[in-house]
């Protein structure tokens, strides 16, 4: 770390990585399926070790979704919401500003990054993803809360809150 050719580029990658983990948590993908690590130009053997270990880990984990107990249809549905999240301007601005704040304070320790993201980004991630999903589901007709929970992975309270705001918006 810090030996990056681009000075601080890889620090930003740490923020990115933690954000990604939280998105994966939200859609129900095992966060261990994603990894970020470092090897310098001279460290061929280290790269081999990292990649081999990661491959082994994924091998024991099993195929995407199957291991998570999610059928592909549900997972795809959730990932679509995540894709939209990543393209959403407001969310990207929040993400960018958070990276900016962390850089200003200069504390790239995993704890600090994790805390900052927990506080500032995670509520946004969950709200936006679930909201998009729920909108989509409701558009298909009335659904039981059980089904909604299963399809989105959100808690009952989260679903309740989002449905509430959706209703309000509709009234307006």
């Amino acid at each position: 770390m810090g030996e990056c050719h681009y000075q601080s580029g890889n620090y930003e990658a740490l923020v990115m990585a933690e954000t990604v983990r939280r998105i994966l948590d939200t859609v129900g993908i095992n966060r261990e399926r994603f990894t970020i690590d470092w090897a310098s130009a001279a460290e061929g053997p280290r790269f081999v070790k990292l990649l081999t270990e990661f491959t082994e880990k994924i091998k024991t984990m099993g195929p995407l979704g199957e291991a998570e107990g999610l059928d592909w249809e549900t997972l795809k549905f959730r990932l679509e919401a995540a894709r939209n999240l990543c393209k959403n301007m407001q969310f990207r601005a929040q993400y960018g500003n958070l990276a900016k704040e962390i850089k200003k304070l200069g504390d790239y320790s995993p704890e600090n990054i994790s805390q900052a993201i927990e506080k500032k980004l995670v509520p946004q991630i969950r709200k936006r993803i679930f909201e998009a999903e729920l909108k989509e589901l409701i558009a298909q007709g009335p659904q039981a809360v059980e089904v909604l929970r299963e399809k989105t992975g959100a808690t009952e309270e989260e679903i309740g809150a989002i449905l509430e705001t959706l209703k309000k918006k509709e009234k307006k």
């Binding site: 000075q7 580029g9 930003e12 601005a93 993400y95 990276a99």
Partner: protein
């Protein structure tokens, strides 16, 4: 090689020899005789028809006479110039005026038997002699049965035999019965370290290449058993010891310390009789014996010396002095093996150094005879056409094709959307292939290229240039790395490797479809250099840069210039190091282009090649300087061993401390009757992992000095391998003749230094006697080795990688020995690795030569991977500006709105801005969101591709 063929400023004259030279430095006249090729290289398309039809056989010299070729031929397919020629000694037409078959089959009518030898008079300012090395005398080979027993082969023959494009396509068979050899012996020092054939010196390279060949043989034939016979293992080069040990470990070679006197043939096998160190006699049978043949002076060296008026050393190599190792005489320089046996990195270093010497001499004439390379204008019509991708799948000989089914990859590529053409190429980077590539671009109207070959890190620039030559924009090529990251690492699973190659090609094609033309930018260079370290290396580099006409800032942390060299009192070569040092210091301090900062340190370096800004801390405060390049010559330290009672007893010294004593003459030696030296007291795995390269010759040099001052003083040297490589071997021989006693030890039985009564004894194991011995000593001298500065602050500031040992790491071990991974930074001297003064000075010149390249050009070309802001989309949030690690984005007011703006020269293309832009207003040249997303989608299951096809068709319509 290919690059040399492509440069507009290098005119290659083949079949040519210099007849005479007249004039003086700066203005020579050389008469060069050029023999006819009988095939016009400008017309020849290298189709090979002439060779195919040529009825006349000729011995294939390129393949070490192991094969036949034709009178009309090319030496090897990637040859430069990539053109055929006719061997006038063999050709029927030229010798018997009958045949002319080639003339009739040659499509482009390139064959011309009327060509005559041509004499050209060339006016040149300087000469660099690089004639290489020659063969060892016949008798050095015949005494091992070479030429008598067919299964005794030379190392170079093995080299060709192992090559897949060689006579057996890489199959290892013994010449006598074409069987696969089961037991193979390598005999070292054939034509080296051998007084009987007039080759007393060490050839310096054979230990390494023998190990390489043995390893390769093992890869070709895993069942073969290999034994290597060494006198000493001389792998003193940087990183070589470790590589040697790894190979022995991995392949289970037998390393035998013995010199085999001769080879006999017994029942179709070869018998070796040898005596090991303990005195036991062995007799062993082998199927194949490889002679590790040494390097001799080049053939015709005397004649060459006469023509150019230079002197040779007693062995026929060019004679030079330590203080100026690359100069044969004013205006005439040498580089490579003609200077003495040496390996590739050393030769490359000397080559760059010799170029620097020329550039010093001809500074005023720089640029005056240069030809600018011009590219044709971009073919707008082609660029505006819908995407037409061409895919070229490289075999890289067998490097790729040996594992990956390249034909299948090609066929698969053809099926991909957007691809209009795909083919296989034997070596895509070869000159002829590049020419064909240009033709194919024209013929098939290709406007996007995918090269499935090696790594873009090494070869992308080559293909980019080819695209420019073909009138395409350089950014329209994408490489799929199916060698370094595929065939080389998945050799055990061809099927999966092929699948991976297909996937990578599919992803590359997907990206290629999204590639857009980019503009190449030039950035001005500050014409000055920062040299860090005022030792021999730093001073020599500074002087060379200054003599080449550029300003130099030389920073030395001590109060005095000189570094490590200040402590060296004698040189193995006999010259006076203190005089060399004094001359360097005087010239540096007087030079008008050099600014010296003593007791100073470099606090910070920022910027990039061409535009660095550094802060130097000096006594009076700090100074900020701008410079275009950096030379790091921060040196190393003398290792201080923790054992051997060093520092606990005044009878125990290091070699440098001994030199100090010896410099006071006989007086310094006092009543010393017996000196015991211990080699590798620290190096080679004890406290330092590496071989320190210079200690063996240092010990022998000092031992001889002792003998000279006091012939009756006994000198013992405990060693592991005496590494007096090259001409230092002469000193070793002399020391033995003068009665210095050498005792070899194994790393498991390192000698110990003990206090006994009031005296000191060295306890060690004598392999000859086979028992432990104790030698009372008046002086114990430790060859402590060279310790790198592991915490080298400069390396940290510059973020340039270091080796595990703590030396600075070069960009490429062989071909870029003075450059590092960071552009504009060069290295030399002990900071790069242990080496004697002569090599340090040559390397300093090399670093200076390389460092001046950007200064002399006056600009550097910025790779077009910089970011660009789409102003319309930009919302002026400023996130990019605050995240950019280079401060390369500024916020400006445009029509009353805040907008981001990129400073292209400062942008390094990391892409942090793009990945954090809320509105995707920033695109990164070559790595746009669209391109990367498309690549990811292509990674997805191939079904996704089918819909892409439809999409693309829609777009086209």
């Amino acid at each position: 090689m290919v690059e040399a063929g492509r440069s507009p400023n290098i005119e290659i004259l083949t079949l040519a020899e210099v007849e005479s030279l007249s004039g003086k430095p700066g203005k020579f006249k050389a008469k060069v005789k050029i023999r006819p090729r009988y095939i016009d290289p400008d017309k020849c398309t290298a189709c090979g028809q002439c060779m195919q039809y040529c009825p006349r056989e000729a011995v294939d010299e390129y393949n070490e006479r192991l094969d036949f070729t034709r009178a009309a031929r090319i030496d090897f397919p990637q040859a430069v110039p990539t053109a055929y020629y006719i061997d006038e000694d063999r050709c029927l037409q030229l010798n018997h005026e009958t045949c002319m078959i080639c003339t009739n089959v040659c499509g482009p009518k390139a064959i011309d038997f009327n060509q005559e030898p041509e004499i050209r008079e060339l006016e040149v300012g300087a000469v660099v002699l690089c004639p290489g090395f020659g063969n060892v005398p016949e008798e050095a080979l015949t005494k091992y049965g070479y030429g008598i027993y067919p299964d005794v082969m030379t190392s170079l023959e093995i080299e060709r035999l192992m090559c897949v494009s060689g006579p057996t396509e890489g199959e290892i068979i013994r010449p006598s019965d074409f069987s696969h050899p089961r037991k193979i012996a390598f005999l070292q020092c054939v034509g080296s370290r051998d007084v009987s054939c007039g080759r007393p010196f060490c050839s310096s390279v054979c230990c390494m290449y023998a190990m390489k060949e043995a390893s390769m043989l093992k890869e070709h034939a895993p069942e073969a058993e290999i034994a290597l016979f060494f006198m000493d293992v001389r792998t003193q080069g940087k990183g070589f010891d470790a590589a040697f040990e790894r190979a022995v470990d991995k392949y289970g070679f037998r390393v035998i310390k013995a010199r085999v006197p001769k080879v006999e043939q017994v029942d179709g096998r070869l018998a070796l009789n040898y005596v090991t160190e303990e005195g036991t006699v062995h007799r062993e049978l082998f199927d194949l014996v490889v002679l590790s043949v040494g390097l001799s002076a080049p053939e015709g060296a005397e004649e060459l010396a006469k023509k150019f008026g230079i002197e040779l050393n007693p062995f026929g190599f060019a004679k030079t002095e330590v203080k100026d190792p690359l100069t044969a005489k004013s205006g005439i320089y040498v580089a490579g093996a003609f200077h003495g046996p040496k390996d590739i990195p050393e030769s490359v270093m000397q080559a760059s150094g010799a170029a620097a010497k020329v550039s010093e001499l001809l500074a005023e004439a720089r640029g005056q005879d240069m030809v600018e390379k011009e590219f044709p204008p971009e073919d707008q019509e082609l660029l505006e056409m819908p995407v037409r991708v061409g895919v070229f799948v490289c075999h890289c000989g067998v490097n790729i094709a040996g594992v990956v089914d390249v034909e299948a990859v090609r066929d698969y590529a053809k099926s991909l959307p957007g691809v209009v053409y795909a083919e296989n190429v034997l070596y895509s980077c070869a000159q002829d292939s590049l020419e064909k590539l240009k033709e194919k671009i024209k013929e098939h109207k290709l406007n996007r290229l995918v090269i499935a070959a090696c790594s873009p890190r090494t070869h992308e620039p080559l293909f980019q240039e080819t695209l420019r030559e073909a009138g395409l924009n350089l950014a329209l090529v994408e490489m799929a790395n199916i060698r370094d990251q595929c065939s080389w690492v998945h050799a055990d699973d061809p099927e999966k490797a092929t699948q991976k190659a297909k996937d990578q090609v599919r992803m590359a094609v997907a990206k290629a479809r999204r590639l857009k033309p980019l503009e190449l930018q030039k950035v001005k260079v500050t014409p000055s250099a920062l040299v860090i370290g005022g030792g021999a290396a730093g001073m020599a580099a500074a002087l060379s840069i200054a003599d080449q006409g550029y300003e130099v800032h030389l920073v030395e942390k001590e109060a005095e210039l000189g570094g490590h060299l200040r402590r060296v009192k004698f040189l193995a070569e006999g010259e006076n190091p203190q005089k060399i040092l004094k001359d360097l210091i005087t010239r540096v301090e007087k030079h008008e282009n050099i600014r010296v900062y003593k007791s100073a340190s470099v606090e910070n370096i920022s910027g990039y090649v061409g535009n660095f800004t550094s802060t130097i801390k000096v006594k009076e405060g700090s100074k900020v300087i701008n410079h275009g390049v950096v030379v790091v010559a921060t040196g190393a330290k003398e290792h201080k061993p923790s054992g051997y009672l060093y520092g606990k007893n005044r009878k125990i010294l290091t070699q440098l401390e001994l030199e100090e004593k010896l410099s006071r003459g006989k007086r310094g030696l006092g009543k010393t009757r017996r000196v015991v030296m211990i080699q590798c007291a620290g190096s080679r795995g004890e406290e330092l992992p590496h071989c320190s390269k210079l200690c063996c010759q240092q010990a022998v040099k000092n031992a001889l000095r002792i003998k000279e001052l006091s012939p009756e003083t006994e000198v013992f040297i405990f060693y592991r391998d005496m590494r007096t490589y090259g001409f230092y071997e002469e000193l070793y021989r002399k020391a033995r003749n003068q009665g210095v006693i050498f005792l070899r030890y194994e790393p498991t039985q390192r000698p110990e230094v003990l206090k006994k009564g009031r005296g000191i004894v060295v306890r060690g194991y004598d392999a000859l006697l086979g028992e432990e011995i104790e030698i009372p000593a008046d002086l114990v001298v430790l060859s402590v080795g060279v310790a790198p500065d592991k915490e080298n602050p400069i390396a940290q500031i510059l973020k340039t990688p270091m080796t595990d040992e703590g030396f600075l790491m070069e960009a490429h071990v062989k071909l870029r020995p003075v450059e590092v991974a960071v552009d504009g930074v060069y290295i030399c001297g002990l900071a790069h690795g242990p080496k004697p003064l002569e090599e340090t000075l040559a390397q300093a010149k090399a670093a200076a030569g390389k460092a001046v390249i950007p200064l002399a050009k006056g600009f550097v070309e910025v790779p077009p991977i910089v970011s660009r802001v789409e102003e319309k989309k930009c919302i002026g949030c400023g996130i990019c500006a605050s995240l950019c690690p280079y401060n390369a984005i500024e916020m400006v007011k445009k029509e009353k709105r805040r907008k981001a703006q990129v400073i292209a020269a400062a942008c390094k293309g990391c892409g942090v801005c793009g990945s954090h832009c809320p509105v995707f207003a920033i695109t990164l040249g070559g790595f746009t969101d669209e391109a990367i997303l498309e690549q990811i989608q292509a990674f997805g299951l191939p079904e996704a591709e089918e819909s892409k096809e439809a999409e693309l068709e829609k777009e086209a319509a």
